[in-house]
Chain length 337, copies 2
């Protein structure tokens, strides 16, 4: 039974904690947080041991009536692996701590690639992370792109990828984000960082990406163009995608027109927090013009990396190979709409 520490209990951390708890081969040793809030209270209610991530703020938990199991150092020392789910940039600062206690660590995609020995996507390069000490689970957008590119590359070969990422301005809970009533090129420079980030998974890939930000909070939307090495019928591409467990092909009959109905469908289906762990590809949008493939996909920024974190835990601990791990993760979480 792998003992997993989760450092950072926000959007990603709390989801990873719940997902770890559902696995047959790992358990949550504890979660660390910098300050008390509704998430800390829920962690306690769920029975997770709560650790103080910042020593001189530890008192705040007591004042809020929340019992602390100890400082984050104790948690890291005792764990077999730590999932760092702290905000962008903090993960890199925590690396020293993980090295001090020789605890293998996973970082999130907000960190620079050089924080880790390997950037990770379960479908694309699970093996690269086997027994690595520092692994970066790539961002929600890079995860979404990688899951589509991997099967296309294997089946047809990819000449070039061009993607426009229309990104939600902030998550539903991020009340300090924008824009209101605007469409922002973001970054205004081309290419955006997303293309180079995908190249941490596919080093030889030719990919250009453009990013925007819009007044929406539910999901990102990708307008994707992949120039394939051969002409392919769209129905073949749909069949190829249908075989991928983490690609959800939205059937036309469902009358799902955007992120709102997708989330509502996930909630109706009883999914925790209405999470959509899969890429949500509009089946009707999968089209080809010569060797050019086009599609729209919705990416749930809060949750698509959660199963990837679980698989990365198994990779660094050497607990399973890719196929075995992905199957266990999918089955326990209920992935596959």
């Amino acid at each position: 039974m792998q003992q997993v520490a989760i450092n950072g209990y926000g959007t990603i951390g709390k989801r990873v904690a719940d997902a770890v708890r559902q696995q047959p081969d790992m358990e949550v040793l504890g979660v660390a947080k910098t300050r008390p809030n509704f998430e800390a209270e829920t962690a306690i209610e769920k029975g997770f041991s709560l650790y103080a991530a910042v020593e001189d703020r530890a008192d705040q938990f007591g004042e809020a009536g929340l019992e602390i199991a100890g400082p984050v150092e104790d948690l890291v020392e005792a764990a077999d692996v730590v999932v760092d789910a702290t905000p962008s940039g903090i993960g890199a600062r925590n690396k020293e701590l993980y090295e001090e206690y020789e605890t293998p660590a996973l970082y999130q995609g907000g960190e620079d690639a050089d924080v880790a020995d390997v950037s990770f996507n379960a479908r694309s390069n699970f093996e690269n992370a086997t027994d690595a000490d520092h692994v970066r689970v790539v961002s929600c957008n890079t995860t979404g792109l990688s899951r589509v590119i991997a099967p296309l590359q294997e089946a047809y070969g990819v000449e070039k990828v061009r993607a426009t990422l229309v990104r939600r301005g902030g998550d539903p809970g991020q009340t300090d984000r924008g824009p209101i009533n605007d469409i922002l090129p973001d970054p205004v420079t081309v290419p955006s960082h997303h293309g180079p980030d995908v190249e941490t998974i596919f080093p030889d890939l030719d990919i250009d990406t453009l990013g925007m930000k819009v007044p929406a909070t539910l999901m990102h939307m990708h307008s994707l163009n992949v120039t394939l090495e051969e002409e392919v019928d769209p129905s073949d591409v749909r069949e190829l995608f249908a075989d991928e467990s983490r690609l959800f092909l939205i059937p036309e009959r469902m009358n799902i027109d955007g992120s709102g109905k997708l989330k509502e469908y996930a909630l109706d289906a009883g999914r925790p927090r209405g999470d959509l762990w899969e890429n949500c590809i509009w089946e009707k949008s999968v089209s080809t013009v010569g060797t050019d493939l086009y599609l729209f996909q919705g990416i749930h920024q809060e949750s698509d990396v959660v199963p990837e974190n679980i698989d990365a835990i198994r990779a660094v601990t050497g607990a399973a190979d890719a196929e075995e791990s992905i199957e266990t993760t999918n089955e326990t979480l209920g992935i596959g709409l």
Copy 2:
């Protein structure tokens, strides 16, 4: 002095009326409207003769205290040219009326291309409309794409265009439109109608477009990729664009990050209604990767076709050639930021 009738006095019609009034070689004979509202009141205040577009609703104007000059038929009969600025689909139904009185007519881009003998963009194919009886001024998005494609094609040759159009859900006054907090593939099928529409201007162009709708009202935003027939330095493309009177290259020093600041700049500059007649291209976004050119451009859906309508009036009446007309239009309106 060309006598211009304007049928439809909404978003486009009212702007075209104001623009016609500023021309030295044409005047507004009258404007027609289906029902009284704030726009009808303003038309009267501005001294435009107001005609009733629908006979059995003419009484409503009198009841609202607005004097009607007569039925739209009288206006069409007396005019040298009519600009149809009615909602999509109504223009085609009005064609019979214009034919009956043998008045040359301009239609807007919401109509199907086959309503007219020629689809029009001043920069790209002015000459095709010379002395034509029925001319369609293409939509705001097609206008925006055409203005960029024409100089690129002339300077370098264009192998292929791929564009993602992130469209405002509705105009600021369209309170019945959506989405709220969503990003919708729209249409979800690929290609969107925009590509074929651009081909009404450039019949041999290879272009694929994808459309989306987002909760913004101010402007559309295009993520544009043009594969050129040669490798070009981005600075050369910027110089090429700088010579185009209806392309505004947003300088980095202005710190304009999106539609909101663009509109505020136009209002600060004293532009009527804060209109942005030019494509607004982020200079910093103009980038090349091999033969692939990328850029972001904002398109003001309410106004970029206004100068095109003015030029189209001169084309169908044979009053000027392209260069002469465009120069007069630009000078009188104040185009060129």
